[in-house]
């Protein structure tokens, strides 16, 4: 193919890609902000600082903040086990890690109701001790955990597989203990991928609707997360309010994309620096 022949093909492909992005992503995003500011900046501020909105924001961030460290721990443990050891049930575990991606989030929510609802033995027992799970914050955290837990593991597994265990074995022979090896050898090599996985998990945690919707109970100011709050406002014909809250979610998304890009750039640079090895 000559350079000139390629030119129109290239422009056509770029035009299609940009056109698609514009119609499917940029326009809706712009619409969110236009609708949110439809009644002026004052109304926007009132909607965003409404107590119910702030409570939803608090709950969303709480759930995400609890899910993130647990995801990091689980992801590291799973990736370590799957890439450093060969054991019975290894492939089963790899399949199970993907389960939350495969099932509908609504089912994830229903699973917890079936398991921990007030009328189930486990839920009744917890209720007897004064711990409410379903229709309360713990249920929302559990549902968020379920839908986000594959992200970190899936980032780490291919990377650690590729890196192999030679470095760790070298550290073992040099007399390092398990914790020293993890801290000095393993973690520095997977740090960026770990953060990357956490960013993705975090985005999902903030945006999750289905699973959380089932276990939430929709108690305004108490068990509503931001996405649930958007739906309620919209169903109450308060579309400006709904879009104002939605704009918060959109801002989170933009921040996530920004962080992801910075990290991707740093990951690429780190890979290039390691090139020869």
């Amino acid at each position: 193919m000559t350079g000139r022949d390629a030119a129109w093909v290239r422009y056509l492909l770029i035009a299609i890609a940009l056109g698609f992005l514009g119609v499917m992503l940029v326009a809706p995003l712009a619409a969110v902000f236009i609708e949110a500011f439809a009644k002026g900046a004052g109304a926007y501020c009132r909607n965003v600082t409404d107590p119910a909105t702030l409570s939803a924001l608090r709950l969303t961030l709480t759930a995400a903040a609890i899910a993130a460290p647990l995801n990091a721990v689980f992801g590291l443990a799973a990736a370590w086990a799957l890439t450093r050891f060969d054991f019975k049930g290894r492939s089963l575990l790899i399949t199970l890690i993907d389960l939350p991606f495969a099932v509908s989030p609504v089912i994830a929510g229903l699973i917890y109701i079936a398991l921990l609802g007030a009328r189930t033995p486990l839920g009744g027992w917890l209720g007897g001790m004064g711990i409410e799970v379903i229709f309360a914050t713990p249920g929302i955290v559990l549902a968020t955990l379920f839908v986000t837990f594959p992200f970190v593991a899936r980032e780490l597994i291919p990377l650690m597989q590729e890196q192999g265990s030679d470095d760790e074995q070298a550290a073992v022979v040099l007399g390092a203990g398990g914790w020293q090896i993890f801290r000095m050898v393993t973690l520095p090599r997977i740090r960026l991928a770990l953060v990357y996985g956490l960013i993705l998990a975090n985005a999902r945690a903030i945006g999750e609707f289905g699973a959380v919707s089932v276990v939430s109970g929709h108690i305004r100011g108490l068990t509503n997360t931001l996405p649930l709050h958007v739906e309620i406002l919209y169903n109450e014909y308060n579309s400006v309010g709904a879009f104002a809250v939605a704009s918060l979610l959109a801002l989170f998304a933009l921040a996530t994309i920004g962080a992801k890009n910075v990290l991707e750039w740093r990951l690429r640079r780190a890979r290039e620096a390691e090139g020869g090895q």
């Binding site: 007399g175 390092a176 000095m184 620096a273 020869g276």
Partner: protein
């Protein structure tokens, strides 16, 4: 340190990597474990290091200076140089070498000044003082290899284990490094075991060679012994080029066919048939680039014979491709129990 391996076996699923191997490595020796891939040499090295354990069998023992060794790898005080270096890529050359000193338990750990002094000393030993601050990715293959060696030496190992240390380097660097390693060993005679599949490397570097095949020790001895007095056809084939002749035995076993092996330099080429048995053939190729002149002779039976001779003799004879010559065997070997490849 003296190392004794007694009745070591190791199998992975259905594959037997080591089959009842017993071996002694003497204080201050540099031993090469030589064999094709799959012969078990790396497995043996990893078992000495404690990175792998032998199958639990009656009498299976590893002894360091006579005492049975059952410590975990980190407590054995072993230096291990990995085939692909396994340098810590997020650390500088300096920190790589210092690693073994820094991870010691607090009671045994040297202070920062002592660590710096020790690392500097090792850097000068590997002649890389100027690049202490670089990262492994910024080094050449040969430099990485030397850093890996310095890192292994930092913990003052009682034994140094090297797994195909020059395998990933180009021929020239490889040769320089193995001479350097030999000189280093003469200066600092740490008991060392080197795994290699390169017979030239083993012959040049080692005090003693252990030839391995299919999980067993085929022969052990000095480079001279294994090269000039191979006990089996396998050892002879593995340690250099070999011409195979099918000959009829005379005397006792009249009529029986047997295989005779001769190295290319143990053959003689002449233009006259002369007395005694000689094989007649046609020169098909002459190659003079290299340490010796190499001549390929096609026999009437359709076999190809490789002959090596000194350049001055080659010049004096003036052999050219297409000529008819006679090849006579000066020295050859017959092995009773032959093997199949």
């Amino acid at each position: 340190m003296n190392i004794r391996l007694e009745h070591i076996s190791r199998s992975f699923g259905g594959f037997t990597a080591l089959d009842d191997v017993s071996l002694e490595i003497r204080e201050g020796e540099l031993v090469a474990l030589l064999g094709p891939s799959g012969s078990g040499k790396t497995t043996l090295l990893r078992i000495i290091a404690g990175l792998d354990a032998p199958d639990a069998r009656e009498g299976a023992r590893i002894r360091f200076d006579g005492a049975e060794m059952d410590l975990r790898a980190g407590a054995r005080q072993v230096g291990f140089v990995f085939q692909h270096y396994a340098l810590f890529r997020t650390m500088t050359v300096f920190e790589n070498i210092a690693f073994g000193l820094r991870v010691k338990p607090k009671r045994e750990r040297a202070d920062e000044t002592q660590i710096r002094a020790r690392v500097t000393e090792l850097l000068s030993l590997i002649q890389l003082e100027s690049i202490a601050g670089r990262y492994p990715s910024q080094l050449s293959g040969g430099q990485r290899q030397r850093v890996a060696l310095a890192r292994a030496l930092a913990i003052e190992p009682r034994i140094l284990l090297l797994d195909e240390p020059f395998g990933a380097l180009d021929a020239k660097v490889r040769q320089d490094l193995r001479r350097w390693l030999r000189r280093l060993h003469d200066k600092m005679p740490v008991t060392s075991v080197l795994v290699t599949h390169d017979q030239e490397e083993a012959l040049e570097v080692a005090d003693r060679i252990v030839v391995m095949r299919a999980g067993k020790v085929e022969q052990e001895g000095t480079p001279e012994e294994v090269f000039h007095h191979p006990k089996t056809a396998f050892v002879m084939d593995f340690l250099g080029n070999v011409n195979l002749f099918h000959a009829r035995m005379e005397g006792g076993h009249t009529g029986a066919m047997t295989q005779v092996r001769a190295r290319p330099h143990d053959l003689e080429v002449s233009r006259e048939e002369g007395s005694g048995s000689a094989v007649r053939g046609k020169v098909t190729r002459v190659q003079t680039a290299g340490a010796a002149a190499k001549i390929e002779v096609a026999t009437e039976g359709g076999e190809t014979i490789m002959v090596e001779m000194a350049h001055d003799r080659f010049k004096a004879m003036g052999i050219a491709a297409g000529e008819t010559v006679f090849v006579r065997v000066k020295d050859a070997r017959v092995f009773v129990e032959d093997y199949t490849i």
